[in-house]
Point group: C2
DNA sequence: CTTTTACTAGAACTAGATTCTAGTTATGCT
DNA sequence: AGCATAACTAGAATCTAGTTCTAGTAAAAG
């Protein structure tokens, strides 16, 4: 029987499972001991598989790290977009970004913590994939907010300024909380930061 | 002749020089190839010294990275405090934080870029040193801003919220610029971000 | 049922971080 | 000055951990 899409065969069920197992194991190791702190052997043991298997699926230790990172970002982005679509109006949307950031980071603490790490040497192709993921996300988000800017409900600013202005503070707060510098969980300051974001964004 | 402070001898002139040379060499390597990407051999060649010498002064590769990080942060902090002391009033002070962040990052681009990396496995003592540096800094900064909060010129917020709210956005912008995602240098958005910080901070 | 391809295993290899031993140079003290 | 001690430098040897390689097993395609 001819396969519907010839370019890419469906991976076996076992493959999907193994990759997922490895990524989960890696997340556990990475978030406990850091990327440098975990060895291939650690991941291997945690995932109950052989070195060969790891290298077959991911090519290298950094390959595992990349994959985990890109998948995590994608999950976050999907969640954010879903949340935005349920909003009405500019204020609710801007605040939703901040609130979602809080909620998601609290719910997915170890993944969030991993996504804050900067120590992955992305390979060229991985960098490209990540860029693509990010651009698709930004396109969706800007499409969402565009009308509010057009109508004057939100300020008109250089495009590069929006993300840092809206997410910068909560991101920084969460980062510090995740790395143990701050005690109080983000939920406590959620509304404060949401209000602050809106203060900055609302039209004059 | 008895030494004034017996606990810690003055290091030799040659020692000071060599440490500085190594740190400069390391910064060059790290910011070009990343921490993982540079080998001890690279630093050794760039600094014109032997492996033994490196290990004598810094104990390990991470030791070099730690030292560079802590020294960089200290430099940044000193500059910020100096700048603040020249300010009059709450608005000028808040805006000065943002402006200084911009200016310093632009002037010390490679060091700034290095300080944004998160991939250093700090040893326990280094972590403590860093914490001490940070707390001294925070104490000075809060002493500076305290009166403005007391007088109502600035809002009263949970202490942990100030740094993320004021510096978060510009920090995020600069980070993206340093890693090549944004084209326009921070100078271009400096006043915009300074205004935003003040919008968030000024009393109602 | 055979051929091909995806996948697994673990031993062998290798790059690079760290340790060790042997020296050299400066400083403090009498 | 001259000895003792500590700071420092050098580079070979070691050891850890990432990667590669070869041989095999299981599953899908035809």
């Amino acid at each position: 029987m001819r396969r519907t899409r010839q370019e890419k065969a469906e991976p076996r069920a076992a493959t999907v499972a193994r990759r997922a197992t490895v990524l989960a194991a890696a997340l556990e190791c990475f978030s406990r001991d850091g990327i440098d702190g975990t060895t291939i052997g650690d991941i291997q043991k945690a995932a109950n598989c052989s070195v060969g298997s790891l290298y077959h699926h991911f090519g290298s230790k950094d390959g595992i790290a990349e994959e985990l990172f890109i998948e995590g970002i994608s999950r976050f982005n999907r969640g954010m977009v879903r949340r935005l679509r349920r909003c009405r109006g500019a204020e609710e949307s801007v605040k939703a970004v901040v609130r979602f950031y809080c909620d998601w980071s609290t719910r997915n603490r170890s993944l969030a913590s991993y996504l804050h790490s900067r120590d992955i040497d992305f390979s060229e192709p991985a960098r490209d994939r990540l860029k693509a993921v990010y651009q698709r996300y930004i396109a969706e988000v800007f499409t969402w907010f565009g009308p509010f800017v057009a109508s004057g409900e939100m300020r008109t600013l250089p495009p590069d300024a929006y993300v840092p202005l809206i997410s910068g503070p909560i991101q920084e707060y969460v980062r510090r909380w995740l790395s143990g510098h701050y005690e109080r969980p983000p939920g406590v300051v959620k509304e404060l930061f949401a209000d602050a974001a809106w203060r900055v964004m609302r039209g004059p």
